[in-house]
């Protein structure tokens, strides 16, 4: 446990980046009128896949038009 707390200040930015990605992906998912694929499915992917979920959503989930 002590090991993990000593790593925390260095690991923290990774966690923050991941959270920010997740939050902006969710915001843009909610604001989007239509997405490629079901919205609920995207919500699950964004939350569960770590940082890969939001990236996938931004690249293939959003409709350009």
């Amino acid at each position: 446990m002590e090991e993990i707390t000593s790593m925390l200040p260095i690991i923290a930015p990774l966690i923050v980046i991941q959270l920010v990605l997740m939050i902006i992906a969710l915001i843009s998912l909610i604001k989007a009128e239509r997405t490629n694929g079901h919205k609920a499915l995207w919500a699950v992917l964004i939350i569960c896949l770590g940082y890969i979920g939001p990236i996938l959503f931004f690249i293939i989930g959003r409709r350009q038009d």
Partner: protein, 258 residues
Amino acid sequence: MQWMTIFKKELLGDWRSMKWIWVPLVFILLCIMDPLMTYFMPRILDSVGGMPEGAVIEFPEVPPTEAIMMSLTELSMFGSLLIAAITMSVIAGERKSGVAELILVKPVNYFSYITSKWAAKLFLIFISYSLGMLASWYYVDLLFGGLSAERFFGLFIFYFIWLIFTVTVAIFYNTIFKRPGIVLAASVGTYIALSILAQVFANRSPWFPNNISSHIRSLMASGEVSSDLWIAAGVTVGISIILLIASNFSLRKAELAE
């Protein structure tokens, strides 16, 4: 004038689609992930446990010049995929939806249309890449030891030439194909084909664009910019310019054919 208008419109579009937030974040993640993982691996294995009694794993000492190269390895794999993915619909998408025709019936030069979009994407990628590499430099400095500014900027500038090339390839395919998915596949296919060719002919043609990162590796080790690196960089810039000019012709041809 026109050029700036399209350039600004493109930047605004990227801002609206949140690219200005997520692309820099993903570049930072890509750049710092490997150095961090390498640093913590012995401790992670320790705290996870499950090692048989008395097992000793020797982890080789990683010099800072090697640690920063890990960021480049990640960028070469996932970074170029990401670049192709954010560039895939920049012109192709507009042609598919008909926006490109609306723009190009106006007295807009094809070349300024292509280069302004190219510059806008390159600007986004430059900012993201700078943030990512600065973050990586910070961590490498903190965890592995000092890395001189001279070496860092050598690596930074020469690798950016490779990134310019990847953007240009994707823009070029944008003018050939109309479907973003095909643009992505063609760009990634080209990167992979080039890296295979570069490996096969590594001894005979050290000036392949893909060899830039292996020349950077020796720059990090020796601290000197080899002539091969200069030539490879020059060749890469040359190919990029040729591709941009070729894009101009292929877009004109494609639009006239319709």
